[in-house]
């Protein structure tokens, strides 16, 4: 391998450096969330105190509930919309205007978040909608759609049209073919899309921060406002929780897609 022309010295150390850069901050902040002392240099003892302290704060409890509620609703609704769109796009011959549809679905990915945030704010005020959880939810559904669409459409493309034909051949109606064949076969992609959308909704700070009304803070917004006081161990604790949820869901989503690949 080392004598091969395709071997370039240095790529391995750089890759390791790359992973080191990506992971060190996350690992360090998690570690310090368990340090009983506020100090950086000295380690007291292992403790869950900061977690208990953080989550006994009513504002944080409230924000956590808001975040979870919005993430669950936004990701489920976005997944349903994305699934319908993917079914319409990919079952049958290519449609006219196919490219435009894909372009529109991916639009939220292309625009800077801050622009999406202010545009949503202006719009909600223009149509006289009360800012609050409802407006956050609507905005989240919109930018969750492309994240849910991606794994679902990838999966549906892998399911050959002949499975639908086999179902029709065996007396299934359109709906039965979807319910008994396409849906179960596409399930790994759907679950994967749902989880990505959930993570994306849970992650959002910029858009929620713009379109939230009083009393409808999400967890990232609460962290942001706590930062004014300084980087406290409580922030480390909440950050660690958010970080673990994201990693857990994304890993599950990835694993879901991976294990399903071997069966088709």
């Amino acid at each position: 391998m080392k004598h091969s022309i395709s071997y370039y010295p240095g790529t391995k150390p750089i890759t390791i450096l790359c992973l080191f850069i990506l992971y060190t901050p996350l690992i360090v902040i998690s570690l310090y969330s368990f340090n009983s002392l506020r100090s950086i240099t000295t380690w007291g003892e292992f403790t869950f105190d900061w977690y208990i302290k953080a989550f006994s704060n009513p504002a944080i409890q409230n924000a956590t509930m808001n975040s979870l509620l919005i993430a669950v609703l936004a990701s489920s609704i976005a997944t349903l919309i994305a699934l319908a769109a993917a079914m319409g796009m990919l079952r049958g011959a290519p449609l006219r205007k196919q490219k435009i549809v894909v372009g529109v679905i991916n639009l939220p990915l292309l625009l800077p978040e801050i622009v999406v945030a202010v545009a949503s704010l202006i719009f909600f005020i223009a149509i006289d909608m009360t800012l609050g959880l409802g407006t956050i939810l609507l905005a989240h559904i919109v930018f969750c759609i492309p994240f849910a669409y991606l794994p679902i459409s990838t999966r549906l493309k892998d399911i050959k049209q002949s499975f639908d034909e086999a179902a029709y051949d065996l007396y299934a109606s359109r709906w039965q073919a979807f319910r008994h064949v396409t849906l179960p076969m596409a399930m790994p992609g759907i679950v994967s899309g749902l989880m990505l959308a959930f993570v994306v909704s849970l992650d959002d700070f910029i858009v929620a921060n713009m379109v939230a009304g009083p009393g409808s803070s999400t967890l990232p917004m609460t962290i942001y406002s706590m930062l004014r006081i300084g980087l406290t161990p409580e922030i480390n604790a909440i950050s660690t929780i958010l970080l673990l949820i994201s990693i857990l869901f994304v890993t599950a989503s990835w694993w879901c897609n991976r294990s399903s690949k071997s069966t088709t």
Partner: protein, 298 residues
């Protein structure tokens, strides 16, 4: 436009399935962006909002300032500086990402096929972690009393903490950290389609390793490199969190300037105008990229 009366029943069902996504994105994103465009040509209201009077003031304000006493327009570079800084920060972040991302993508693409997806996954996980959390983690590490400075002092390499947090470099570092996976993924995709035996062929034709890299490999995967650069550059130039937290409010970028118009100083038309300018810059960047791609295909 589609003529819905000419569609077959099946096509109607399919367009019907597609319509919720189009309506959602059209209603809650395309219309809002159009409103931003309209607002950028109006006058600011006294307490936020807009006055329905046509005006180019928002765009003028970008380059000129009204003198308090003489009411004359004077050229001001304040906002241009913010744009310049945004460009520079995004460019530095893109360059850093490329320097780390390209070798990483190459390393992954030359791994055995069954382990490649695992490596890629390891690179993408941090992207899914909350951007705010990642930026806080970075701030935690590099601040004056943070682990990095403490560690370097412990090693006696430095006597006083290096001032890293709240500097322009911290912002670059934050952007680099935020968008690094975006550089790796498209370059990896291009590399995985590249036929490595071409390098052997180049070698056979007297090319050294580096000559083969420069003359064969990089030109073959240039589309992946350009895509990676775009994917880092575009979100970087419009970023909000990294300059806000790591720059400590002193290193304003376009994103912060827009947010300010809707929160603090409350000049909606000006905020809308900056947003439109930002979108135009992104559009031009994309156009240049797609033209270059087309030119290459011919």
């Amino acid at each position: 436009m589609l003529n819905i009366f000419k569609l077959s029943k099946e096509e109607k069902v399919r367009y019907g399935l597609i319509s919720p996504s189009m309506l959602m994105i059209g209603f809650f994103l395309l219309i809002p962006i159009s409103i931003v465009f309209v607002y950028s040509f109006l006058q600011p209201g006294t307490y936020g909002g807009v006055e329905w009077v046509f005006s180019l003031d928002a765009y003028k304000q970008f380059l000129f300032q009204e003198d308090f006493l003489t009411e004359e327009l004077q050229f001001t570079s304040a906002y241009l500086e913010i744009f310049g800084r945004s460009f520079l920060q995004a460019a530095i972040a893109t360059l850093l990402c490329f320097m780390i991302g390209f070798p990483t993508a190459y390393f992954i693409a030359t791994r055995p096929a069954n382990t490649q997806s695992l490596w890629l996954f390891a690179i993408t996980i941090p992207y899914w972690v909350n951007l705010l959390v990642r930026t806080i983690a970075m701030l935690f590490i590099i601040r004056d009393q943070g682990p990095l400075n403490e560690f370097l002092m412990y090693l006696d390499w430095i006597d006083t903490p290096i001032k890293l947090a709240y500097t322009p470099f911290a912002v670059s570092l934050g952007l680099f950290y935020s968008f690094l996976p975006f550089m790796v993924l498209p370059i990896y995709t291009a590399l995985s389609r590249f036929d490595m035996s071409l390098l052997t062929a180049a070698h056979d034709l007297y090319a050294s390793r580096w000559a083969a890299l420069k003359n064969v490999l990089i030109p073959s995967v240039s589309n992946g490199i350009y895509a990676g650069c775009l994917l880092v550059f575009i979100p970087s130039i419009g970023s909000f969190i990294a300059p806000d937290l790591l720059g400590g409010g002193k290193q304003l970028m376009i994103g912060n300037l827009i947010a300010l118009q809707f929160q603090g100083s409350r000049n909606w038309p000006f905020g809308a105008a900056i947003a439109i300018i930002l979108l135009t810059i992104i559009l031009i960047t994309l156009l240049i990229f797609s033209l270059r791609k087309k030119g290459e295909q011919q």
